[in-house]
Symmetry: C2
Subunit: 122 residues, 2 copies
Amino acid sequence: MDPDAVAKAFVEHYYTTFDANRAGLANLYQDGSMLTFEGQKIQGSQSIVAKLTSLPFQQCQHSITTVDCQPSGAGGMLVFVSGTLQLAGEQHALKFSQMFHLMPTPQGSFYVLNDIFRLNYA
Amino acid sequence: MDPDAVAKAFVEHYYTTFDANRAGLANLYQDGSMLTFEGQKIQGSQSIVAKLTSLPFQQCQHSITTVDCQPSGAGGMLVFVSGTLQLAGEQHALKFSQMFHLMPTPQGSFYVLNDIFRLNYA
């Protein structure tokens, strides 16, 4: 299994789900998962999805510029993303960077243990 | 030991060393360390420092905008940085994002296991 291919597939799945149905991200997180969103720390799948679904915009479209990945040790995988976020009704897209630490599940899939998101105001 | 304080101290030390004496970064990496620099994958302290010291600019100045950190499991710490990089003689600073996965050493310090760097051309 090519780690770069897994990372790209995860990233595509994540942002497609984010843009179409944010509540559907819940099963990518677990109770121990951490999100730092623009400096705000949130823990656990329920709280993370509550945060993401309450962001002050309804429709958005992520576009991915780069995806990098590295093994993190202990079966985990670090995925580092840069891209743009277009909010409905806004003229300019926002640049963002985000990192995920994916950990394997017993079912052979991955969940997000760590998630850090930052906008880079261009 | 406050993880946010450790992360900030590491980041300050890292970029101060980078800007003053890049070769001095060697002891922050080990043989298993990985760097992905603008998509190029490099492994091991020697190769990483060879890459960093051969970048096509001599003098530079990093300025840090944000530092986020989370525990990565197994004693490690994820540090996510955004900031700007001013190259000597250039008019505009470049935006960058970088993530580090710090792992504890037996001496009670940390080394960089994972390092991913990307410029976000603004």
